[in-house]
């Protein structure tokens, strides 16, 4: 499969502090990439750079056969205010805004069908006439993912889409995202739940100020980073010193 995105030696930071340096990775068409790392390691900054919302300090991002209007996103801390007057249908439909060409972007009947379809994919077709302000947190998150699905022609980027949702709903979301991915959509997902990320993504990008990892999920599980992130580091260090060497594998 061809690479949709190739990132070479990317460095960036926020508020004048460097978050990560020399991060390199590729995103293959149809793959699922999970971006993990500790709080403040710059996962969201990295996503901002990918989407062109933020200028990296150095490095290169090459997109092949991928336009910005092909990407559907759900960003952390950028959710619309909860009391916003809009129906679920209006919110989902707005995902199509950047897929419309020309200055006046009117939605066709086909677009409305796309939006309805995205809502059913997320299991909330019955909510389309409800108002955004009346929904629960989980329902609102589904609407925003449906909007991202509407926008995503080739790539879906989800930054911590499950933060603050209860575990039962989280596993349901993973199923939905797996299904969308298996239908051919490339997915990049930022997650703080490393174990779940490894279970659902093909490749892992661990972002860290002191060196990053990029590779198959299976290989990541053998690293000290994985052990540290899943909170079993002490155990692993005492039991399996060979894992220490895995650090050499990082890029």
């Amino acid at each position: 499969m061809a690479n949709l995105i190739e990132v070479k030696k990317l460095s960036a930071g926020y508020d004048g502090v460097t978050a990560f340096t020399d991060v390199s990775f590729t995103v293959e068409e149809g793959s699922a990439l999970a971006v993990v790392g500790e709080n403040g390691s710059g996962k969201s900054t990295l996503i901002g750079c990918l989407l062109g919302l933020k200028k990296p300090d150095s490095g290169e991002i090459v997109m092949s056969g991928l336009e910005r209007s092909d990407i559907g996103v759900l960003l952390q801390n950028a959710a619309p205010r909860g009391d916003f007057p809009a129906t679920v249908r209006e919110a989902a439909l707005s995902g199509l805004i950047n897929r419309k060409k020309g200055p006046f972007r009117f939605y066709s009947r086909e677009d409305r069908a796309t939006a309805e379809n995205a809502l059913s994919q997320l299991g909330i077709a019955d909510l389309s006439d409800r108002h955004f302000s009346e929904l629960s947190g989980g329902q609102r998150q589904r609407v925003l993912i449906a909007r991202a699905v509407c926008a995503a022609k080739k790539l879906l980027v989800l930054d911590e889409p499950l933060a603050g949702l209860d575990p039962l709903i989280q596993s349901e979301f993973y199923e939905i995202i797996d299904r969308i991915n298996s239908e051919g959509m490339t997915v990049i997902m930022v997650s703080h739940d490393v174990a779940m990320a490894c279970a659902h993504a093909d490749t892992i990008l661990h972002v860290s100020g002191s060196g990053s990892f990029f590779g198959p999920a299976e290989d990541y599980k053998k690293t000290l980073m994985y052990a540290h992130m899943t909170g079993i580091s002490h155990h692993v260090i005492s039991q399996a010193p060979s894992l220490m060497r895995e650090r050499g594998k990082t890029e």
Binding site: L75, P85, E90
Partner: protein, 269 residues
């Protein structure tokens, strides 16, 4: 009661007021939701300052006011957007600009020994709308209405979630700047009738009243426009009937409408 509209100045006031109210109500929904309500207020003060300076300098006041308000609108919007990123205090900047513009206006008025009553600049006058003003107003407001309808989906997208729209490649900065410019034009064409200090009520009141009783975007937009028209007509009629100044009468009517909408919202919950 309809006989009041046999006066040409009342006909002009009705047309200008309705068109300005409708435009301000449309723009107001976005401005209020993006927390830019104070921009309208800042613009109105700048409008007053510029009108007074223009009149004192013996120039056509509108030719000074229009560019001044337009430039301020773009500047204030920039500041508010920087504030979102936590760099400057946009509301403080708006407050400073408002009071400075007001002070300059009053100083200019007292130095220039204006023939025009400063009161009429501040609180508006039905008699201040000339036939040519009315024509300009109809042209500008029609343009605003048409633009709003053409860019309806874009305006929703930018209001609902600007970051999302920008991530997909939309030039959201351009859209916001255009909205600020259009708001400035609406303020300029409406301020002689409504008064420079009261015009911002036309932007904020209908939008917040509509949001009390509507929960969808389209509903809110339609409701905001309808309430604005109702508020203006009620204000104009009571101004004529009870010899009240028009601007304050319209704002009072808008306030009553807001009270009713709030009450309706309370009862429904």
């Amino acid at each position: 009661m309809l006989s009041m509209f046999s006066y040409p100045f009342m006909q002009r006031a009705l047309i200008v007021g309705l068109m300005v109210s409708v435009c301000a109500a449309l723009l107001g929904v976005t401005l209020v939701l993006k927390r830019f309500s104070m921009i309208g207020d800042g613009l109105s003060h700048v409008g007053f300052g510029a009108l007074s300076v223009g009149a004192a300098a013996g120039l056509a006041p509108m030719y000074i006011a229009a560019p001044a308000v337009l430039i301020s609108a773009v500047l204030l919007l920039r500041l508010s957007r920087l504030e979102e990123r936590g760099r400057v205090s946009g509301d403080a900047a708006t407050a400073v600009l408002s009071s400075t513009a007001l002070a300059i206006g009053v100083i200019a008025a007292s130095l220039g020994k204006l023939n025009v009553d400063v009161n009429s600049y501040m609180f508006g006058s039905v008699l201040a709308v000339s036939a040519s003003d009315a024509v300009i107003c109809v042209v500008i407001c029609s343009a605003v209405l048409i633009l709003y309808l053409l860019f309806y989906n874009t305006i929703f997208a930018v209001t609902f979630d600007e970051t999302f729209a920008a991530a997909g490649g939309m030039k959201t900065g351009l859209v916001s700047t255009a909205m600020a410019a259009v708001t400035a034009l609406t303020v300029v064409v409406g301020m002689r009738l409504m008064g420079t200090l009261l015009i911002s009520a036309l932007i904020v009141f209908p939008a917040i009243s509509a949001m009390k009783i509507c929960r969808s975007w389209r509903g809110t937009v339609i409701c905001s426009v309808s309430l604005a028209a109702a508020g203006f007509i009620a204000g104009l009629i009571s101004a004529f009937a009870f010899s009240l100044p028009t601007g304050p009468a319209v704002v009072a009517a808008d306030a009553v409408i807001y009270g009713v909408c709030s009450a309706a919202d309370r009862i429904r919950r």
